[in-house]
Symmetry: C2
Subunit: 307 residues, 2 copies
């Protein structure tokens, strides 16, 4: 199978190409630039450019059976600062992708949505996939609009489409600039002896998934004839306080926590119901949180020793 990975050089993308290469798949990656932490991988056909540039996209789609769309030009925090830019840089080029796929008759798309924002403040926790979608921020609103367009093209054009809604992924090769994920950011700050900033009182609950487990689920979705919408989380909720406690245990360092006033709209408790992925794709997360943090910390420590 010829697979095109849009965003294949990013954090999640880099683990996905590892997993798909190990499964013997033929891969092309379209991204704006090379991976940040590794040299180019043998056996991948890299194309560098913007997936919103139609001439680049058409070239990258040649002979492709499945498109795996991981690109997000924004993060939950940055999307809020510029909702019009969020629409222009994520929704618009994704509609362009669907149109181009339709014209070229590319039969399958797997899209990485967001399990933490599309449901809004959930009525049911753990939250199943058929929970109503009431996003509270621009990042989630755009993800829902993209999901709806994907569903529409699936229904109207007979395209096989699968949507993955990951919770908070963490692990090696994740950025740690303070906006990409609390585990990466906190581990980095613990390493540097800097205080951890927590919005609210540390009781906010989230679902954390180790990156290799997420990559495994996405790869199964790519390779399976099964289509649909799948949550991708651990199914387990951890408070920020519990996260910090585990991080202290793994790193052997004591966190200095700086609690700040809570942001206006924050989901108090977000945990995903992951039973559908087990049922349809035989998938279960295999890495306990502490084990994932150990691997992540190991990578951070190795990178730091190279600096």
């Amino acid at each position: 199978m010829n697979i095109l990975v849009l965003g294949g050089c990013g954090f999640i993308g880099s683990h996905l190409v590892d997993r798909l290469l190990a499964a013997g798949q033929s891969l092309r990656v379209l991204d704006r630039g090379p991976e940040r932490f590794r040299p180019p991988l043998a056996g991948i056909d890299y194309v560098f450019g913007d997936f919103g540039d139609n001439s680049v996209l058409i070239e990258a789609l040649a002979d492709i059976d499945v498109v795996l769309h991981l690109v997000s030009a924004t993060l939950p925090g940055t999307a809020a600062l510029d909702p019009e830019g969020d629409v222009a840089r994520n929704l618009m080029p994704t509609i362009g992708l669907l149109e181009t796929m339709r014209k070229l008759r590319i039969p399958k798309l797997v899209y990485l949505s967001s399990g933490g924002t599309v449901y809004g403040i959930p009525e049911t926790v753990p939250t199943p996939e058929d929970h109503s979608l009431r996003p509270m921020n621009s990042y989630g609103i755009v993800k829902v609009a993209i999901e709806n367009y994907i569903r529409m093209y699936g229904a109207n054009e007979g395209m096989a489409t699968t949507i993955i809604r990951p919770s908070n992924a963490f692990g090696p090769r994740q950025g740690h600039m303070g906006i990409q994920g609390v585990v990466a950011t906190f581990l980095q700050r613990l390493r540097l002896g800097e205080p951890l900033q927590v919005w609210g009182d540390g009781t906010v609950v989230r679902d954390y998934i180790y990156i290799a487990d997420l990559a495994d689920l996405v790869a199964r979705a790519v390779l399976s004839p099964q289509t649909g919408v799948y949550n991708a989380g651990s199914g387990i909720g951890l408070s920020i306080k519990e996260v910090i406690s585990t991080l202290e245990g793994i790193t052997g360092r004591t966190a200095q926590v700086d609690y700040r006033a809570v942001r206006a709209v924050d989901v108090p408790r977000s945990v995903l119901d992951i039973s559908r992925a087990l049922k349809d794709l035989g998938w279960e997360p295999r890495t306990p949180f502490a084990e994932g943090v150990k691997l992540h910390w190991g990578w951070i420590s190795t990178m730091a020793s190279r600096e």
Copy 2:
């Protein structure tokens, strides 16, 4: 109260300004051009321009207490032909409107969404407002994205926001170009002795609301301190066959019906649950379908006699 009506010269807008003028309100209208079937109304401050043009918008927003947003650059049928244009011409300028309202601290927005497309194929008929939103076409997808952004600005910025989801409105001053509504189109064709084109076998059920009843509900939402989401329909489902039968009775003409193969994705039965508007706003539709058709037919006949 100073009210700005975006799209106040259109079909729905023209009835709304009548209703609000009768209630003694101070009105400004921003639209691309004047009303099609009437001269300018005394007592309205008209501004002609594009609401997506920020300099025009800022001028129109001076001293305004409530914005009533009725603009749609597309119709359900035309949106499907150009989903990127649908996003660019409806979603993007509406986010721009919200941003500008936030900056100018305009306290209230009432938006006209769509009761026929946002729910997709409904699980419950009549469909209540808290039914999940699973739009099947670009028109509905964009309406849902706009609703979500309005909800977000309402929650984050303390803006009072109300969303109205109308069913199929009909009545005087509606266009009859074959895409604006089945009642207007069929009445015009009956007048001209032309055949009626029906997609499918005529069993598709829709909810029809007479325009003055819709205008009454929207005006109540504008003038009430109550906010929220309200369906605006008759609450009664009519098949296309029943519609045609009523039209034949009112016009005294016999329809020649041309049945065509059904379109790929069509909602078989769409009827709105309208109990929330009665409870919160004391509103009920007062014009039975046949009575509304009589008024609509009277207007069409008068217009034709002037040609």
